[in-house]
């Protein structure tokens, strides 16, 4: 089960090697400080009171009993939050309605899901804070909840937000309150003519359940509010600048009054971009005059933060005899949760993105339901969509009697292919990932045994560019200190440092990366959208070029020659008459020959070309229980240029296992009143290491022309294909087509029993 890696020409000295990560020792010794590890002198501990109802009007809140408790220093409720208008602001990875964000952080007139924050208490200990929170009396007028996306779209459904009107894509707004916040519509070619030409047409409906990112570290924020109005916040966030902006906006402060110090972050996957605790901790700190730490417990994470949406998807696809797609149509409805903002648009854009579809139509709806406000989760919106589209493709292949990978090869999107949503691809590696699986030992091996099956699926994710800043200082010992604004979730300190090292021609170990706070480094967007190695990498390359330029100037000064006779080459500064300095030699001379050498790099213009993955899985299904066991899994993914192959493999393996959890176990289980019944890690069951095999990886490298070294982001796309690949494998194993996630034992067994009942008696 060895990890396979494509052999390639070694063009680079540093890129493609596997140095030990710079923050590694801190993380294996327990010294790294995460969100909840912040401790300040005189610090208070805070706890939240959350709504027990999925939908209710708040009639009154009485905090007097809590405030009277010894050891309680401050209580905050909706009364303490400024009224922010329904302004839309760009927060790095998508626009956010500030009014809704503020209402999500602290409920105002209504609670819209069980777990919605209603009040918070700061006290001498967490135990006192929790006890006091329970003494707050809230009078609710309970309203009927709506939990299903299609029910929420109907005219007689209870409406969550009175201010929501349907926004039509390309203009136009509905005239009455509704749960349907947005309608997206994309069209290409002549869909009816395309279907008329098809030899095979398959149309199916799918459902997927709400799932959570499931990072192991709960959200945590600690705030200090100085009497001069300056606020400092320590938080485990995916973006310190977006945390600063959101906190400042919700508190009505200028951003310069808020300093966000990012701690280490124990996983995020998109779920640690929105603020939940930061503004609350800040207001408690203001009221109490003391630093305040606010940490969620696991059930608060599941019930009070943003999972990814449950969905309803209908897909229709046609292909001709030769296996060419002639037309495709999709209808997607995603649960936004309490407030608008599900990843429905990326879902629409991803659903057929792997293929060259000549005629297509996609409609997508963003729908409010009484569940937590959804948030990004690794390739947000794409996994739901791929489950539907890639399962339909498998059925078409079966009817055509065609190998599913040959079908994908035949229809694969390539450079120049225009997606249904209008985007034309630059150089991409979809085809290469299919070929990699087609040629893999795994796919060529024979799978034997009863109730076993093999399935494949492909997936697409955009990857984003956005803005980053890097500052790099040359030290006299020949090393470089690198300061960046990108919080490091999975080893990006190292992947960014390696690009600076490559550009300067020095060792990765000679770069010391540091993630700085919002007052110490230039603006940097969130760690999300698989962007950091790409975009902060570009900023690091720019900083290295700035250093090269200054080193050349310095050498010209020392050699007393014109600077245009000096060039930077292979880690050396080379001048006229065979004169040369190694980087280390010249670095040692910097302090005695002039001003410090500090390189500066920013990025923000480049956009990524997109990432693709194709995956194959072998499963065994227990026909008596419906339990699905993963026997073997191989993922092929286009990494463009694998900067640190171990961490690229790690992203692929981690994404796949999250996808396996999504496919087989994970779901929010609700009662009819909207109460989550499985709000612990015991019952919301993410995969353990006993549930999965080794995950074999094939790194494909089709360089992205938008990056100097061809880097593509690798974090998100591997999660996209697993549910579909596993569904297709289950079909091969036991002959039932799965149309619902998760494919948990009861669901699979139900399908098996239905198919037995339908089969003619023997």
């Amino acid at each position: 089960m060895a990890t396979v890696e494509k052999q390639r020409q070694r063009k680079y000295r540093v890129l493609g090697t596997r140095p030990v990560r710079h923050d590694g020792v801190d993380k294996v010794t327990g010294r790294a400080r995460y969100g909840a590890d912040t401790h300040l002198p005189g610090m208070l501990y805070a706890a939240m009171l959350r709504s027990p109802h999925a939908h209710a009007r708040i009639v009154s809140i009485d905090t007097s009993a809590a405030e009277a408790m010894p050891g309680v220093h401050a209580v905050v409720t909706r009364e303490d939050f400024p009224d922010v208008s329904n302004r839309i602001v760009e927060l790095g990875e998508g626009a956010v309605n500030l009014g809704h964000l503020s209402q999500n952080v602290m409920a105002r007139n209504k609670v819209l899901y069980k777990g919605h924050a209603v009040a918070a208490v700061a006290a001498d200990s967490i135990h006192i804070a929790r006890e006091a929170a329970q003494r707050i009396r809230v009078e609710y007028e309970i309203l009927p909840p709506v939990l299903d996306v299609l029910e929420a779209m109907s005219d007689d459904a209870p409406v969550l937000n009175e201010d929501v009107r349907t926004e039509e894509f390309g203009g136009g707004t509905g005239d009455r309150p509704t749960n349907v916040a947005k309608h997206f519509h994309y069209e290409k070619g002549d869909v009816e003519a395309g279907f008329a030409r098809a030899a095979v047409i398959v149309e199916r409906e799918f459902r997927t359940a709400t799932v959570h990112q499931g990072y192991i570290e709960p959200h945590a924020a600690t705030a200090l509010w100085n009497p001069d109005g300056h606020v400092t916040i320590w938080t485990c966030t995916q973006g310190s600048f977006t945390a600063r902006q959101q906190t400042a906006e919700l508190l009505g402060l200028p951003v310069s009054r808020v300093r966000v110090i990012p701690t280490e972050i124990g996983g995020g996957f998109g779920g640690k971009i929105s603020v939940y605790l930061e503004p609350v901790a800040a207001l408690l700190a203001k009221k109490s005059g003391r630093p305040v730490k606010l940490v969620m417990d696991r059930s608060e994470v599941l019930e009070g933060t943003g999972p990814t949406p449950g969905s309803y998807i209908r897909v229709k696809m046609g292909a001709d005899r030769d296996g060419r797609i002639t037309a495709a149509e999709a209808y997607l409805a995603y649960e936004a949760g309490a407030f608008p903002g599900s990843p429905i648009n990326p879902g629409c854009m991803c659903i057929f993105a792997c293929y060259d579809v000549p005629n297509g139509r996609i409609d997508g709806y963003d729908v409010c339901v009484n569940k937590p406000r959804t948030n990004a989760y690794r390739a947000p919106g794409a996994t739901n969509a791929a489950f539907a589209a890639e399962t339909v493709i498998d059925e078409i292949c079966e009817q055509l009697g065609m190998d599913p990978l040959e079908f994908r090869l035949k229809n694969a999107a390539v450079e120049g292919t225009r997606r249904i949503d209008g985007v034309t691809y630059s150089r991409i590696g979809m085809k290469e990932t299919v070929e990699a699986i087609l040629n893999s030992e795994h796919y060529r091996s024979e799978l034997k045994g009863p109730n076993r099956g093999r399935g494949v699926a492909s997936g697409f994710w955009f990857n984003v560019g956005l803005k980053s800043t890097v500052v790099a200082t040359v030290n006299p010992d020949g090393t470089v200190s690198l300061v960046e604004g990108s919080t490091d979730i999975g080893g990006t300190r190292t992947s960014v440092a390696m690009q600076l090292a490559e550009t300067l021609g020095i060792a990765a170990e000679d770069v010391q990366p540091l993630v700085a706070d919002t007052d110490s480094v230039g603006y940097t967007d969130v760690t999300g959208g698989s962007r950091v190695t790409f975009s902060t990498g570009i900023a690091a390359i720019e900083a290295a070029k700035d250093i090269q330029r200054q080193m050349c100037e310095r050498a010209a000064l020392i050699w007393d020659c014109p600077v245009d006779q000096v060039r930077y080459e292979d880690g050396r500064v080379v001048g006229p008459d065979g004169q040369a300095f190694t980087f280390k030699e010249l670095a040692a001379l910097v302090p005695s020959t002039g001003e410090p050498i500090v390189g500066r790099g920013t990025s923000g213009k480049a956009n990524q070309g997109g990432a693709f993955a194709t995956e194959v899985v072998d499963v065994e299904v227990d026909p008596d229980t419906g339990k699905v066991q993963i026997l073997r899994f191989t993922v092929a993914q286009d990494a463009g240029c694998a900067v640190h192959p171990s961490y690229v493999e790690g992203q692929m393996q981690g994404g796949v296992v999250q996808g396996i959890g999504w496919a087989l176990n994970e779901e929010y289980i609700y009662d009819d009143q909207g109460r989550m019944l499985n709000n612990t890690f015991l019952d919301y069951r993410i995969p353990t290491c006993y549930d999965v095999p080794m995950i074999d990886t094939i790194i494909v490298e089709v360089p992205d022309p938008n990056h100097p070294y061809g880097v593509r982001g690798v974090g998100e796309v591997p999660i996209v294909p697993p549910p579909a690949a596993i569904a297709n494998a289950i079909y091969r194993a036991v002959g039932v087509r799965m149309d619902r996630l998760p494919m948990s034992p009861p669901r699979v067994l139900e399908k098996i029993l239905q198919s037995r009942a339908a089969a003619p008696a023997q």
């Binding site: 990890t3 596997r18 030990v20 990560r21 923050d23 590694g24 020792v25 993380k27 294996v28 010794t29 327990g30 010294r31 790294a32 400080r33 995460y34 909840a36 590890d37 401790h39 967490i126 135990h127 006192i128 990112q213 499931g214 990072y215 192991i216 570290e217 709960p218 280490e264 972050i265 124990g266 996983g267 995020g268 940490v295 417990d297 696991r298 979730i489 999975g490 080893g491 171990s646 961490y647 493999e649 790690g650 992203q651 393996q653 981690g654 994404g655 796949v656 296992v657 999250q658 612990t680 890690f681 015991l682 993410i686 995969p687 353990t688 290491c689 006993y690 999965v692 080794m694 995950i695």
Partner: protein, 159 residues
């Protein structure tokens, strides 16, 4: 609030006296009273293993142990794993094998894996997976964690 109790324990080889309320868990005391923040809190109900420590040699979820139960006990945390000059071979294997991404589950995995290798120096892949099933990791997909434990066991058996 109940009166605080004095508890005497040996933590990472050091005799340590601390005061705690009867309702405080070992996890809370380690983190908030004694500043051993290397032991992490992921769920507080024994489902994730981030707070794994050794208590009299056994691995336990410290969120499920009351601190007052630890009077006279020997406790080992992640902070006691490395020597002053060198990392423990497992810590080194995790670094070299890229067996961590965000790192929040890493202390728990290391404490548990150390207990495994002391009990069974040459575990099979299945034995490793079974033993570590109480520790959740959401980033790595477990592949490189299992391989790091295998590599450490293989290196030890060569010596």
């Amino acid at each position: 609030m109940a009166k605080k109790r004095v508890v005497s324990a040996v933590i990472n080889g050091e005799p340590t006296d601390f005061l705690c309320e009867p309702r405080q868990t070992l996890l809370e005391v380690l983190r908030d009273v004694l500043d051993f923040t290397g032991t992490k809190e992921g769920c507080s109900n024994g489902n994730c293993g981030a707070c794994t420590v050794r208590l009299n040699g056994r691995i336990v979820d410290s969120c499920l142990v009351l601190a007052v139960e630890c009077d006279g006990a020997e406790i080992e945390t992640i902070e006691g794993m490395a020597g002053p000059d060198a990392l423990h071979p497992l810590q080194q294997a995790f670094l070299e094998g890229a067996a961590l991404q965000c790192g929040i589950c890493t202390p728990g995995f290391l404490v548990a894996a150390k207990a495994l290798l002391e009990e069974n120096p040459n575990p099979t892949e299945q034995q490793i997976r079974f033993f570590l099933a109480g520790n959740l990791c959401r980033c790595t997909g477990y592949d490189k964690i299992v391989r790091a434990v295998q590599a450490c066991a293989a290196a030890a058996s060569e010596h």
